[in-house]
């Protein structure tokens, strides 16, 4: 199994507070990893730190992606190398249509000019697949979209940009059962032997669809347990109380 992402002893501060305290994680190609943990454990911090969000300060450790050290690389560089992040609350951006935005993002990602008609066809097809209203493509990016539409739009971008690693931050939050099914279908369509998924979630609905290879329990800035779906059953039954640090 070839390693795609390797995080070693990562320590991260946010607003002067130490959030991650020596986190280590390895993701191989073709794998789906789930991160679970109580509120405030550092799940979102981890995802933001991988993409080097300047609001988070790395104090120790390093992150290797596809053989390259990306610890201090700029967010856009990391993105162009093939890391994608789907947001819990995608931003509304006025003045650019969803279509044009995806076109320019794809251009940056592939470093090739994009054929307008091919992209147009492809997007319409994918939007239909995700049961998205076609009209959303010509509207400003996420502006006035419902919560569900925003999440679907994230998955649409995932399919278009086809990254090597998809980082998904609570993609299921706020979605009804039907929408979770559609979004999961989209994620499964993306998945193949050469890429990988790192998903943060609180719920089990999506996990049934995605069939993770590994479940990690993140408590107080460290991964305290790693296992298969049996860990999920344990969390659903007893919460996180048996996963205190050092146990």
């Amino acid at each position: 199994m070839k390693t795609l992402l390797q995080i070693e002893n990562l320590c991260v501060k946010s607003k002067e507070k130490q959030i991650l305290k020596g986190l280590t994680l390895k993701i191989g190609k073709g794998e789906t990893h789930i991160i679970m943990g109580p509120n405030g454990a550092g799940k979102s911090t981890l995802l933001n730190a991988i993409l080097n969000n300047p609001a988070y300060e790395k104090t120790e450790g390093k992150i290797i992606f596809d053989g390259a050290d990306i610890t201090d690389k700029k967010t856009d560089e990391i993105a162009r190398m093939g890391v994608f992040m789907s947001f819990q609350n995608p931003q509304e951006i006025e003045g650019i249509s969803t279509f044009n935005f995806i076109k320019s993002a794809k251009q940056k990602r592939t470093n090739n000019p994009i054929n307008y008609f091919e992209l147009s066809e492809e997007l319409e097809e994918n939007a239909t697949y995700l049961q998205m209203n076609q009209g959303l493509l010509t509207r400003d990016l996420n502006v006035g979209f419902s919560g569900g539409e925003k999440k679907k739009n994230e998955i649409l971008q995932l399919l278009e940009l086809n990254p090597k690693l998809a980082i998904l931050d609570e993609t299921d939050s706020g979605l009804d059962v039907d929408a979770i099914n559609i979004v999961s279908k989209g994620i499964n369509a993306y998945k193949n032997e050469d890429n990988a998924i790192l998903l943060v979630t609180h719920s089990s609905k999506m996990l049934e669809k995605l069939k993770p290879d590994f479940v990690h329990i993140l408590v107080d800035g460290q991964i305290v347990a790693t296992g298969g779906t049996q860990l999920l059953d344990e969390v659903l039954k007893n919460g996180y109380k048996n996963f205190k640090k050092g146990v």
């Binding site: 933001n48 995608p90 951006i93």
Partner: protein
């Protein structure tokens, strides 16, 4: 941030200097002899000289405004108020001297004229060097000429309107303007004539330590319609230059005028410009204003909704970068019944720039059923910059419908991060957010100018990341 400054200079296509080559440059300073000399150079009628001298007296009496940006660095003793370029006015670009022609070529004026304008005026320092209008418009009674020619050829019309919209004593710098004004355009659109293509005047100040004081006078007669565009720029010098122009607009019954400005003065310019419109019943004036340049700007166009059912709309954007203090806004006076005004402004500041937006809405007692809506938003690209909105209103009539919205905020770091996770650079992400923010304004501009504005925004954002 020394590097940034250098980048801004190098990349600014407006910043190229031509030799300070003139036929006549007035000695620096301001006094009655200088005013008389300007009038003499122009061979003006007596009434105009009198008006100039009267304005000078008013200028000397009035004090600097006690609000807004600090203007103490302006020293009239260090400025030449009149610089006559080495060319008489021409009606064909071929006849314009090479270095002046090259200036306007680089600014894209002759091409714009060929492509989509009905007429063009080009002013270099204190005088208009080129003026042209399509022949068929002349035949239809449209007048578009420089103001000096108008004073001589259409004296009655000029006398009837000149200084009747913006009075000499409006404020100190308009008095200064009337004392030394030179150049500018005069436009008359006859009854019922609707111009399909715009007219454009472009003002270029090349001479260092000098001032530009052009006067624009436009009369749109009953049922007529016009789109007028003005552009202005200058190369950057180390010492202060001054621009104190004046725009007087008269729109008659059911007439329509759109007045668009893209201003990109160099960052050593004090831009103290005055613009005002008087609108008769059923008439409409729409202002579109983009302020990017200058060191200090004080610019508050004004619409006077004199006639019943008259309308005005102001759409403005200002972008204040390092070392700039742009104090802009809009004023409207509702006099007639059922009058309507819509004010929509966006101001952006970055890298220590200050942008202030002031709106003044005055609804008079008899302005029954007036409607006014004000929306002004400020966006700061970093924490060093400032953005203020100062709305003032004085409503004397109870039947008015008045709405006001104002927001001021810093550019969202989350939005920048979101865009960067899709592979956009920090610069591109900021530019995209700023373009989105200014979109309500840029969509009001003719296509060519919207492109120009986006280009200016990109230019302003280049090297903005420390």
């Amino acid at each position: 941030m020394a590097k940034t400054e250098l980048d801004e200079l190098n990349t600014n296509i407006y910043d190229f200097k031509k030799k300070d080559d003139y036929a006549y440059k007035m000695k620096k300073g301001l006094n009655a002899n200088i005013v008389k000399e300007i009038s003499k150079q122009k061979n003006e009628p007596e009434w105009m000289l009198k008006l100039r001298l009267q304005a000078l007296e008013i200028y000397n009496k009035l004090s600097l405004p006690d609000w807004g940006p600090d203007l103490s660095e302006l020293d009239m003793n260090n400025l030449a108020t009149y610089v006559k370029p080495k060319s008489e006015q021409k009606s064909s670009w071929e006849q314009v001297p090479d270095d002046i022609k090259d200036t306007f070529e680089r600014l894209g004026i002759p091409k714009a004229e060929r492509d989509y304008l009905a007429g063009v005026g080009a002013q270099y320092d204190s005088e208009v060097v080129y003026h042209s209008i399509k022949d068929e418009l002349i035949k239809q009674g449209v007048i578009y000429t420089d103001i000096d020619t108008a004073i001589k050829e259409y004296p009655e019309m000029v006398k009837k309107y000149f200084s009747k919209c913006v009075p000499l004593a409006d404020h100190k710098f308009i008095a200064l303007h009337y004392a030394v004004f030179s150049g500018g355009s005069f436009v008359y659109v006859p009854k019922g004539k609707k111009l399909e293509m715009p007219l454009q005047s472009y003002y270029r100040l090349n001479s260092p330590e000098s001032g530009q004081f052009e006067h624009t006078l436009i009369v749109v007669d009953e049922g007529a319609s016009l789109h007028f565009i003005e552009g202005c720029s200058a190369p950057k010098y180390s010492k202060i230059n001054l621009h104190a122009g004046c725009v007087e607009l008269f729109v008659k019954k059911n007439g329509y005028l759109r007045y668009s400005t893209i201003e990109n003065w160099s960052k050593n310019m004090l831009n103290l410009n005055t613009k005002k419109a008087i609108i008769d019943s059923g008439g409409e004036v729409d202002w579109v204003s983009g302020s990017f340049g200058s060191k200090i700007s004080m610019l508050y166009p004004m619409s006077i909704l004199k006639g019943d059912n008259s309308k005005t709309e102001f759409t403005g954007i200002s972008f204040a970068g390092h070392g700039q203090n742009l104090d802009t806004g809009f004023k409207v006076v509702h006099i007639g019944k059922n009058t309507k005004s819509v004010i929509n402004s966006r101001s952006i500041s970055k890298n220590g720039g200050i942008s202030t937006y002031r709106s003044f809405v005055y609804v008079m007692k008899n302005a029954q059923n007036a409607k006014c809506s004000v929306s002004c938003d400020g966006l700061m690209l970093d924490s060093k910059s400032r953005s203020d909105t100062i709305p003032v209103s004085n409503i004397q009539n109870q039947s008015v419908v008045f709405s006001h919205e104002a927001t001021v905020g810093k550019i969202s770091e989350e939005a920048i991060f979101y865009l960067m996770t899709r592979g956009l650079s920090e610069e591109d992400a900021k530019a995209l957010i700023v373009k989105g923010f200014s979109n309500p304004v840029s969509k009001e501009l003719p296509m060519e100018y919207a492109v120009e504005m986006n280009r200016l925004i990109n230019l302003e954002l280049e090297g903005s990341i420390g």
